[in-house]
């Protein structure tokens, strides 16, 4: 699915967190969003997914403006997201988390006619579980999963809803170097197999330059640059505002 953002603006108490942002994400693309802390990256995701309502602008999903739709409606149209801090249902097992997600997706969440899970839900949950590689921990409660597995479960919940556009907010946050690469390889694999429009926020520049086919740089709520990894690497404004600062810091 094609995602097009036009002149999107959102202020919080006079601060423009997202300031006239226009970006296009072609169907089936794998894009990274980078930028310093507080650049508005997560806010940008919140505006696309409908967690926040934008002040003005357009969010076009295959040319249809979804700005006025609720997050549930947007989810039904195919926008899925995973969160910066892994967001799952902590008292339930991995399998139960995914069965819950597929049940909701099938529109059976208010069903009172039978016991949970509804027929067929377990199989669908197991498919997703196998797809992301969580089968080994199927019966482990989410709150005692490793950090990396919690992040995977969060992504798996999003995948269980069969999204066409997937927003991943720092899928490798809080992981060690090896784990980061394993994670991002999985993300890449699921992008290839599911033919999603995938947008992810990432701080690790090595990962971004290696994995993303196009990169958008946000800074203080504005688009600082967009282009291929090579273009971004050599963009003076980006180096000054972001990459340079990072190199100095390390």
């Amino acid at each position: 699915m094609n995602v097009e953002i036009n002149h999107l603006t959102k202020s919080f108490g006079g601060v423009r967190a997202i300031d006239d942002v226009s970006l296009a994400f072609p169907s089936g693309s794998l894009s990274a969003i980078i930028g310093p802390n507080g650049a508005g990256k997560t806010t940008f995701f919140n505006l696309i997914s409908g967690a926040f309502i934008a002040d003005s602008g357009e969010v076009l999903l295959d040319r249809e403006d979804i700005l006025q739709l609720s997050k549930t409606e947007r989810m039904r149209r195919g926008i899925g997201r995973a969160f910066q801090v892994a967001s799952c249902f902590p008292t339930m097992t991995v399998r139960a988390n995914l069965m819950a997600a597929v049940t909701a997706h099938a529109g059976r969440w208010a069903s009172l006619s039978h016991r949970f899970p509804s027929p067929g839900m377990r199989e669908r949950a197991d498919d997703v579980m196998e797809f992301v590689g969580l089968t080994d921990v199927a019966d482990v409660e989410a709150n005692i999963l490793s950090h990396g597995d919690q992040k995977l479960l969060d992504i798996a919940i999003a995948l269980a809803l069969e999204p066409k556009v997937l927003l991943l907010d720092e899928p490798t946050a809080g992981m060690g170097p090896d784990e980061r690469w394993r994670m991002i390889e999985r993300v890449r694999a699921l992008w290839e197999r599911r033919k999603l429009t995938l947008i992810f926020i990432e701080h690790d520049m090595d990962i971004v330059f290696k994995v993303a086919s196009s990169i958008r740089v946000l800074c203080y709520g504005k688009v600082l640059a967009e282009g291929t990894p090579d273009q971004i690497r050599n963009n003076q404004a980006v180096i000054d505002a972001y990459l340079g600062a990072e190199e100095n810091a390390t």
Partner: protein, 317 residues
């Protein structure tokens, strides 16, 4: 192959019911029968509240209004109409359910703190209406004139034994129905909301609708408890709908355990037994009750059944 969990629960309920019905045949004890009658009302009341508190994470301080509503609706229907007792009981439960839907529509969209406050406020409003609408409700004297005792299916509810049997059957069936709700996809949805409302809404659950449905169902079952209470006291009193009564249900839930389905039933049992016991020795029963609850809250940090579950699962590991 494991036994189907639904039939396992039904079997458990059947065994409990048979035991309850068998006891008076073997040995008549008015005190015991009295206890079970009161427990049946309280168990439905507390367990329905726990659908909100433990399962959904909505702390309602006004659940007593539906208990009182059920009692008054039933008492008034019996006095003012010629409906038979089971029809009047069903009618009272239906009315209470509608009342819960209306109250819920106002309350459930509010955040946790304000939800607790407004449920309490609506309850106080309802209580005031009961007390001041003397011509209908009898005001603070309660609904007098008793409930016409009619025979149903060979039951004569004027006899304590028959009332005992009737209450046991209604309570066990009611609890079984609540168990079904809690184990249905909808019950699971409520646990998702309790665990992570934000995530739940991002998988497509319309939070306010789920909460409203839970509130409505819980109100209906509290009304069913109220019907039994009205049968026991043969009338209805404003105290049934007063806020301390909501507090009793919350105590029962907290004492017994919010994460076990039968926790509130056990809590109601403990609470009733404590009330009876303590009242025999001192008039300051509130003081003793408070100490016991403090001991549970600070000592176990959870209800009895939740504590047993915890110890059990630790041992199993």
């Amino acid at each position: 192959m494991k036994r189907n969990p639904a039939s396992r629960d039904a079997l458990f309920a059947a065994i409990v019911l048979i035991l309850l019905l068998a006891i008076p045949i073997l040995h008549r004890s008015p005190a015991f029968e009295d206890f079970i009658i009161r427990l049946s009302a309280m168990a439905l009341f507390a367990t329905s509240l726990n659908l909100l508190v433990g399962t959904t994470g909505m702390v309602s301080f006004g659940h007593g209004m539906f208990y009182g509503f059920g009692a008054y609706a039933f008492g008034l229907t019996m006095q003012l109409t010629e409906l038979s007792l089971p029809v009047a009981a069903l009618f009272a439960v239906a009315l209470t359910t509608i009342a819960a839907l209306v109250v819920g529509a106002i309350c459930v969209r509010l955040s946790t703190d304000y939800f607790a406050f407004i449920t309490l406020a609506v309850q106080m409003l309802f209580f005031s209406v009961i007390v001041s609408w003397q011509s209908l409700t009898g005001g603070d004297q309660g609904l007098r004139g008793g409930i016409p005792r009619r025979h149903i299916f060979g039951f004569d509810l004027g006899s304590q034994l028959h009332l005992y049997q009737f209450c046991a059957i209604v309570a066990v069936l009611g609890l079984l129905a609540l168990r079904h709700v809690s184990m249905s996809p909808f019950g699971n949805t409520l646990r998702m909301i309790r665990d992570n409302a934000e995530r739940a809404s991002f998988v497509g659950i319309v939070l306010w609708r789920a909460r409203l449905l839970a509130f409505t169902i819980a109100g209906g079952f509290a009304g069913m408890g109220g019907v039994l209470a009205a049968l026991f006291v043969s009338g209805a009193y404003p105290e049934l709908a007063d806020w301390p009564n909501s507090g009793q249900a919350i105590f029962a839930v907290m004492l017994g355990g919010i994460n076990s389905f039968l926790g509130p039933v056990l809590g109601a049992m403990i609470l009733l037994a404590l009330n009876d016991l303590v009242q025999r020795f001192t008039e300051y029963h509130g003081l003793v009750l408070g100490v016991v609850i403090l001991a549970f809250a600070l000592g176990l940090r959870r209800g009895v059944l939740d504590f047993i579950h915890l110890v059990w699962s630790k041992r199993a590991r």
